[in-house]
């Protein structure tokens, strides 16, 4: 085959060809000569065709010490790391950490091509993001299969969010196909993309530019095996995004983590105020606030479909109101003469709004809110929340300072 630019010379010095690609996880210990002819790779479909010299070069940068890499697959284009389909403790711990926001923005792997099992030119190519949580979810589902995984550089963001931002997009896909010389590795010219990548990828554009036909697979990685075994048929069920109890629950830790900084500031202010107030803030304020927070960040998301109404802020406010009423009664409102009416009213104005605000923030984690809808909701909710919190805070402060 004709070979114009890539690997054309017999130059055995790999350094001469190294093109710097930022290592995404850690710099591989093995000195690897990198992808050659990146810029021309798209046009150059038959790079190294047959030449044994090129095929020993790794296409994807990887660290052999990574426990999830269990070998190598030789292709005409170069060496491809083979990945395990078993998750081990460190993968599960890593996922747990990411859920709690620990090192979340750096939980990623190198983009490139990976192998599962013993794939050949006819094996399916699955495209995914380089967020390790996403990658792990996919490889776990591929046991007993022979397949290629093409990992796009989404800066460590999951497929859906990255598609919304455009990083999981037509441009990155087209260039990644070129960089990995996929034309030689998979001659069938078909790519399987996760359906939730569709907001970023224009299937007909990809086909026009690369010759690869895009098939959108199921939404969930768990359906991949059934999809492949049934001859790439997707059922309506596999196409639909769900948002069940577990889906919602796993997202709530991140919601709570997001409130830590603000909460510390609030506690700091209350502590300072306590130095001068006649009626100091105490344990009721602490768990009143904490409860409102948990109501907005955890309980509302979990109970989402069962709370009446549609707007998230409304749902949060409703549950927050119940919480505020409970807190007031527990504090001895109406019974205890020491519990001021003003303070009770203040709680009723402030606490439900804290819940409402955090519930409204959950729109971003949900799978069914639209931009137009959230905007409409916010135009009403944000001013109401602000006014209510300001008036409530004034009442509570009046009680604190003047004891009324």
């Amino acid at each position: 085959m004709e070979n114009k630019s890539c690997c054309g010379s017999d130059n055995s010095d790999p350094k001469a060809k190294v093109i710097k690609v930022k290592p995404k996880v850690k710099v591989p210990k093995v000195k690897v000569p990198n992808i050659e002819g990146v810029s021309s790779a798209e046009k150059n479909r038959s790079c190294c065709g047959g030449s044994q010299k090129c095929s020993i070069d790794p296409i994807t940068q990887y660290d052999k010490k990574d426990h999830w890499i269990i070998g190598e697959v030789k292709t005409v284009s170069g060496i491809v790391p083979r990945v395990s389909t078993q998750l081990v403790i460190s993968d599960i711990f890593g996922a747990w950490k990411a859920r709690w926001g620990i090192n979340r923005m750096n939980y990623k792997i190198n983009p490139g091509i990976y192998a599962v099992g013993n794939p050949d030119k006819d094996s399916p190519v699955l495209v995914t993001a380089n967020y390790k949580l996403t990658f792990d979810t996919l490889r776990r589902e591929l046991s007993d299969l022979n397949a290629w995984i093409l990992v796009l550089d989404t800066k460590g963001i999951n497929v859906w969010c990255a598609a919304g931002k455009g990083t999981f997009g037509t441009k990155e896909l087209v260039s990644r196909i070129g960089k990995t010389r996929l034309h030689d590795i998979a001659t069938h010219r078909t790519l399987i993309l996760p359906q939730l990548g569709a907001p970023g990828v224009s299937a007909h554009e990809v086909e026009k530019q690369t010759g690869f036909k895009v098939i959108y697979g199921p939404v969930r990685a768990a359906d991949i095996k059934e999809f492949i075994n049934s001859g790439m048929k997707v059922t309506g069920e596999m196409r639909t995004v769900k948002f069940n109890l577990i889906d919602r629950l796993v997202l709530t830790p991140m919601e709570l983590v997001g409130t830590f900084k603000v909460s510390l500031i609030i506690f700091g202010i209350l502590f300072l105020l306590n130095l001068v107030t006649a009626n100091p803030f105490g344990i009721y304020d602490f768990y009143g606030y904490g409860g409102a927070l948990i109501t907005g960040c955890v309980i509302t998301p979990v109970l989402l479909p069962w709370i009446p109404g549609r707007a998230f802020a409304w749902k949060g406010w409703l549950l927050g109101l119940i919480w505020a009423a409970v807190i007031n009664v527990l504090s001895g409102w109406t019974v205890s003469p020491t519990f001021s009416f003003i303070r009770g009213l203040g709680y009723l104005l402030v606490l439900p709004c804290i819940s409402a605000f955090y519930a409204m923030n959950f729109t971003g984690s949900s799978t069914y809110t639209s931009f137009s809808g959230v905007l409409k909701e916010m135009k009403i909710a944000v001013p109401v929340i602000a006014v209510s919190i300001i008036i409530g805070t004034i009442l509570i402060l009046l009680n604190g300072f003047l004891g009324i």
């Binding site: 963001i157 919304g164 931002k165 971003g364 949900s366 931009f371 959230v374």
Partner: protein, 100 residues
């Protein structure tokens, strides 16, 4: 129980004249918004649309129009504060608030 969001807000539009009934949009829609009827597309669940833009992006005939955006309050607040287009701040180094 089904999750439902606000009614009559989405910006989704369909130009039936341009539609060839290829069904690509049905393939990419995560909320079963479309249906083919006599080889023509129909919107059957407009309020189910979350404006992800997948249908418009994957329509080879530009028959679908939707203003895509992130349905994320945090992103909109940040957009208001910074005066920029609301976007999911997932990739930034700042602590993103659970928007993905």
């Amino acid at each position: 129980m089904k999750n439902r969001y606000l009614k009559n807000v989405v910006t989704l539009k369909l130009d039936s004249n341009k539609c060839t009934g290829c069904g690509r949009c049905i393939e990419v829609c995560p909320h079963k918004v479309f249906e083919l009827q006599n080889r023509k597309l129909r919107i059957i669940n407009k309020d189910g649309c979350m404006e992800c833009g997948a249908c418009a992006k994957n329509c080879p005939f530009a028959a679908i129009e939707v203003k895509p955006g992130v349905g994320c309050a945090y992103a909109i607040i940040m957009g208001w504060l910074t005066g920029s287009e609301p976007s999911c701040d997932c990739s930034g180094s700042s602590n993103s608030n659970g928007c993905c």
